[in-house]
């Protein structure tokens, strides 16, 4: 039992890496005031690009592809939505259909299979395998995969970019009032493009982390991480700190639900629902508490 907490921490960090990267990417488009529903598809695009390119030219090239391909896709997605004045939400939904379909066709072309493509060269090693036996810190920190660490670092970069750079400031301004950036001589459309590209790149890193974790491309690789990332953004009230905390707590809930399967009397199928139910109840109660507080101020 004394290994329980480190284990929760370890699984949480592994679960957090892709969710956080995707959530912060999605936050970039929320900053400019659009919901990028295509996070799920973009993660898949990143994972597939990593395996498809990495399979031929090695993991480093795969990583570059994992970042650029989804970024370009997201850019195209936004470009189409803006130029054709299409509903950004519908275009995002369509991206979520398009990407798995295209990945499957390309997988058949490149690897001759629509199924699992396992390439052990692309599997991520752990940070310092020898240090696992260091108490507490060992398993929590040193047994993490470098791909996850990389995704967390990328998340930090995105977070810094959003919080501390002029670019982040401009995104926020564009989201609050597009005319404010227009008056400042900037193009709200270009800023939106930038936000989309950033969200694509961040999702690509998330996909890379997921593919590297298992050393393979698996159809439907993202398996709902993009949606969880969206939940984290909204749970975090579209703020940076909030999104981080929400991602972290959701990852912890998922880790707990995973580890709770060790208790034989709990039905494994139902445990999957728990993180969502808990969060839904928390959201409603949280809103109610805020409402009460606001009423008190008024009365």
């Amino acid at each position: 039992m004394n290994s329980f907490l480190p284990e929760v921490a370890m699984v949480t960090i592994a679960a957090l890496a892709p969710i956080l990267a995707a959530a912060l990417g999605g936050l970039a488009t929320e900053y400019v005031g659009v919901l990028n529903i295509a996070l799920e598809g973009l993660i898949m695009a990143g994972g597939f690009a990593y395996v498809a390119v990495g399979g031929t030219w090695g993991p480093a090239a795969g990583m570059v592809a994992a970042i650029t391909v989804p970024a370009v896709l997201a850019l195209a997605q936004d470009g189409f939505a803006r130029k054709a004045r299409a509903d950004a939400f519908v275009v995002g939904l369509a991206m979520n259909m398009l990407i798995p379909g295209a990945a499957s066709v390309m997988s058949e072309l490149i690897f001759g299979t629509k199924g699992v493509v396992a390439l052990s060269a692309l599997a991520s090693g752990t940070l310092a395998p020898g240090a696992v036996h260091v108490p507490v810190v060992g398993p929590v920190l040193f047994s993490q995969r470098w791909s996850d660490i990389l995704a967390l670092l990328a998340s930090a970069v995105v977070a810094l970019g959003l919080a501390l750079t002029p670019f982040g400031l401009r995104l926020r301004a564009a989201g609050m009032k597009p005319e404010s950036v227009e008056l400042a001589g900037l193009s709200p459309g270009r800023l939106r493009d930038g936000a989309y590209a950033l969200s694509g790149a961040a999702c690509g890193v998330a996909g890379m982390a997921m593919a590297a974790a298992i050393g393979a491309w698996v159809p439907n690789l993202s398996a709902g991480r993009g949606w969880i990332a969206l939940v984290a953004i909204y749970l975090g009230r579209k703020r940076l700190k909030g999104t981080f905390l929400a991602s972290l707590s959701f990852a912890a809930l998922l880790a707990l639900a995973t580890l709770a399967q060790a208790v034989p009397s709990l039905p494994a199928g139902l445990l999957g629902a728990v993180p969502y139910l808990v969060t839904a109840v928390a959201v409603i109660l949280g809103s109610a508490a805020r409402g009460q507080y606001a009423r008190k101020i008024k009365a």
């Binding site: 290994s3 284990e7 699984v11 592994a14 679960a15 892709p18 058949e108 001759g112 299979t113 629509k114 199924g115 699992v116 396992a118 052990s120 599997a123 090693g125 752990t126 395998p129 398993p139 995969r145 997921m210 974790a213 298992i214 050393g215 393979a216 698996v218 159809p219 439907n220 690789l221 398996a223 709902g224 991480r225 880790a255 995973t258 580890l259 399967q261 060790a262 034989p264 494994a268 199928g269 999957g272």
Partner: protein, 333 residues
Amino acid sequence: MKRIVFLALAVAGLWSCGGTGGSPAKPASVAVFVPGVASGSPIYEMLVSGAARAVEERPGTEFKVIEGGYDQSGWLDALKAIAASGEFDLIVTSNPALPELCVKVAAEYPEVRFFVADAYMDGQRAIHTVLYNQLEQGYLVGYLAGALSVHKGSNRAGLIAAQRYPTLDRLIQPGFEAGLLAADPGMKLEYREIGNWYDANRAAELAASLYNDDVEVILAVAGGAGQGVIAAAGSAGASVVWLDGAGYQLGPDVVVGCATLAQDRLVYERVSALLDGKDLWGVADIVGATDGYVGFDRDGPAYKALPESLRAEMDTVMAKLAEGKPAFTLDSF
């Protein structure tokens, strides 16, 4: 508006000249319905190749492979569309869940016949099924898992499944447990569930937590998500057992054993028989290790790297199973 009229005319033209294009009387035509995607799934690849071989030997027989995709809820509509096309006399498929769907389709299209491998349903005149004795399959990998665990000093083995389904509950898991106990009566089974067939990362998390908890061998019954178990075994230096031959390719270093089904042989034999007019309709057979349809693949690098004594033990178990010892007789399913 003009455009629409033009389009309508063009479409109508295509339609009318297409109507005369049907081929003249054909002896038989076979559709292979893959409930999933064939490439990457050995059991379905064998389904296709077995049926193809049977058809090739009978010139004039039409043959077509149709993939139904992973979404179980779409299979019924796909099957109906195949039957409704009127192009096919025999639909060949493989999956324990398919007979129920075939019954529904057969009620509407009585002229179509079905052969379902890896499934069991008797008494339906339109359907022939053959079930593998997967108790034996589970037993083989269970025994290996048990013996290897004991060898490595662990008394627990894992089973990570995508979700609960009847074949798992009634055949694979009991067989696996029987194998574990046969190897060592003190063995215990840890069951974990992913919730779907594709979330490989969650599978990896589940597997990692088992391996961290002194489990040495895990059986993965999880489709694409099984890749996660292989990855986790790789980083934990532990082992995986698999239910069909593909495991060795997916994880040459960690997949120590694969129990196999002779799906291509079975499909070839039965489709040939059916095309030759043998009346197997309504019959449900069960085949297993005694007739060679369930076996164990010795050709894995990780298996060959196991200690000689373990492999010798496995040879004995396989030989005995082929003689029907222990007897996992199934009269029905």
